[in-house]
Symmetry: C2
Subunit: 120 residues, 2 copies
Amino acid sequence: MDPAELGHLAYYERLVLKIKEQIVRGVLQPGDKLPSVRDMARSEQLNPNTVAKAYKQLELDGVMEVQPGRGSFIAQRPRKMSQTEKVELKNRFDALVVTATAQGVDEATLKTWLAAHFEG
Amino acid sequence: MDPAELGHLAYYERLVLKIKEQIVRGVLQPGDKLPSVRDMARSEQLNPNTVAKAYKQLELDGVMEVQPGRGSFIAQRPRKMSQTEKVELKNRFDALVVTATAQGVDEATLKTWLAAHFEG
DNA sequence: TACGTGTACTATACTAGTTAGTACACTTGG
DNA sequence: CCAAGTGTACTAACTAGTATAGTACACGTA
């Protein structure tokens, strides 16, 4: 999955997704240090504020630990989601499944899409 | 799934989702006539323009057939998605799975969420 | 001919997102 | 200690999307 294709997402959301993908794939490991807000802004061609917003979102999501003056690091373990967060995530998931189904995507295809994330 | 809980969606998007859900659940059948833009606006407490935008989106998605002067009807069959549309839908699906996984939702839970749409 | 239908258009208002620039408090290394 | 690097906070301006209001038009039907 290439976040660059996700043209409908805001820049900071694309960066959040990109980092989360690297975490899921193991490219980024717990404790790893991320580039500073300014370095990431330079390499990603973004405004430092936009990167800061992405980092803040990642911290809010519990996958990154931010230490002012030291840097930003991948969390040892993703913070346990609250019930509200879990419900919200399920709502988004359900909405997407309904949309796909209404437009003719069948059950087998969706199961394939899902399973692809857990192979290897 | 109750679209009323999806506070992050725009009004017209919530209406689109609500109608798609009724299609998937069989509450709305192919050929069924939907309320006019003005009636729907009254019953849903929305501006007619907002409803019109939802109807236009539904027609664009191929699940509704609009006949100016006659009314709006559920399509006999969802229009076959273009390759671009399918890729876009898969991208959104993948992004959501990555987000969920990064925040600690495991494979079994996601499979349960998906399967729930195809029971009964 | 009336009426209801979807549609188009203008105008206004509000919100979110992005960029730019500046400044501050904190931690680290020389 | 001090300079450099860190995340953060703040204002300002611009863009895009959303929602509302009102008006008008073209079409199909009874």
